[in-house]
Amino acid sequence: MNITATLFGQMIVFTVLIWFIKSYLWEPILTTIEDRKARIAEGLAASQKGAEDMARAEEEAATVLKEAKVQAAAIIEQAKTRESQIVEEAKNKALVEAERVKAGAEAELEQEINRAKDSLRTQVAALALAGASKIVAKEIDTKTHKKVLDALVSQI
């Protein structure tokens, strides 16, 4: 329990030790710890940002999907309209065509009837003439009595 010259030795050791620890342990280790803290904070911020980005992207995707659905619905609607339109058009065209075909057939029929009437009339005229000539027993000159015959024909 005395104070001796060891005191000075210990003071010197202590002072040197403080200096040594400061330059070789304290400062490097604190720098490392601070760096690590900064990097962890950075990483956390980045992950936070990533999560936010992802949320935003999901939102965006949802919006795009919704839009696409609306568009698809519109397209389907349009297609349906167009379809009924086409059907309508085709129906109309078919009707017109049928009408046309019917009209043609009717016209042809008319013509046929007329032609048959004509031929009948001619044959009736010839028959009438043959009958008349037989009745008159005198040959009637067709040329001479053409007027009479024509009148007859038109009367039939």
Binding site: N2, T4, A5, T6, L7, G9, W19, E27, I29, I33
Partner: protein
């Protein structure tokens, strides 16, 4: 030092005195302060522990792994962060020397105190044995292991802290500001005559206050460690008689309790150093 195997000396008083005597250059100290004496054992053990700390500090500081700290780097990082947190809490405006100072005090004092955990007779008998090979009488070879059971070590630390207290006071308050505190603190007055009357008391009180800081620092650590060491020696004495089981039981108990004392004393020394330097760094008007 938890237990002893076979005390080399049969007389209990002699045994304890033997253990409390330092290996010294210049013989036994004649008075309380005797600068002709140099304690080799205290100095060697403390310098070896300082070297140990410095070596591991240097080794870790050289190969710091920034991402995956392992082993001793983890331990040192933990201690550094702990000390740094204390400084941030107590002394936010600390300059770059406070941290290394506090860390060195904490770790070095802890290591020196921890020498108390070695068996009381281990190193002394080892040194005695080695000395006897060279023909010395082991009964006159002394080796006091724990450096902090020596006033030199504790006061060396306390005086370095004390000189830093004075340095920081002068740095932050100016020489005039620092001396003014001696005149106006702790009793202050507004009347000039009362001030003059109070000045001598103030000088006395502040001087005592300032001197008490290093003295209490040094004596607290010394007292705790010396008492602990003495208790280990007394417990070791039980090994002389039939009380061997008592020695083992008490030794274990005291050793476990002493782990707390060792750490706590190192921590208190560090904490008070930070507090004193924080007080010293306040401006003149904040005092």
């Amino acid at each position: 030092m938890s237990e002893s195997n076979a005390p080399a000396i049969s007389n209990p008083v002699e045994y304890i005195q033997h253990h409390l005597t330092n290996m010294s250059l210049g013989g036994k100290p004649e008075s309380l302060v005797d600068f002709n004496v140099f304690f080799i054992d205290t100095f060697l053990v403390s310098i070896a522990l300082a070297g140990l700390f410095a070596y591991f500090g240097w080794k870790v500081g050289k190969n710091l792994d920034p991402d995956k700290p392992t082993g001793i780097q983890n331990v040192l990082e933990m201690v550094v962060e702990f000390v740094n947190q204390q400084i941030k809490d107590i002394f936010p405006s600390a300059d770059k020397w406070i941290g290394p100072l506090a860390l060195t005090i904490f770790v070095w004092v802890f290591l020196m105190n921890a020498m108390d955990m070695l068996p009381v007779d281990l190193l002394p008998s080892l040194v005695g044995g080695v000395a006897s090979i060279f023909g010395a009488d082991p009964h006159h070879v002394y080796f006091k292991v724990v450096p902090t059971t020596n006033l030199d070590t504790t006061f060396a630390l306390a005086l370095v802290v004390f000189s830093l207290i004075i340095f920081y006071n002068i740095k932050h308050k100016g020489l005039f500001g620092y001396l003014k505190i001696f005149l106006t603190h702790p009793f202050s007055a507004s009347n000039i005559i009362v001030k003059v009357i109070l000045a001598p008391f103030n000088v006395l009180m502040t001087t005592i206050e300032e001197i008490a800081k290093p003295v209490s620092l040094g004596l607290r650590l010394f007292g705790n460690m010396f008492a602990g060491e003495l208790l280990f020696l007394l417990i070791a004495l039980l090994g002389f008689a039939w009380a061997m089981p008592g020695q083992v039981a008490l030794g274990v108990l005291w050793a476990i309790f002493h782990i707390l004392v060792i750490t706590l004393q190192a921590f208190i020394f560090m904490l008070l150093t930070i507090v004193y330097l924080s007080l010293a760094s306040q401006g003149a008007d904040e005092h």
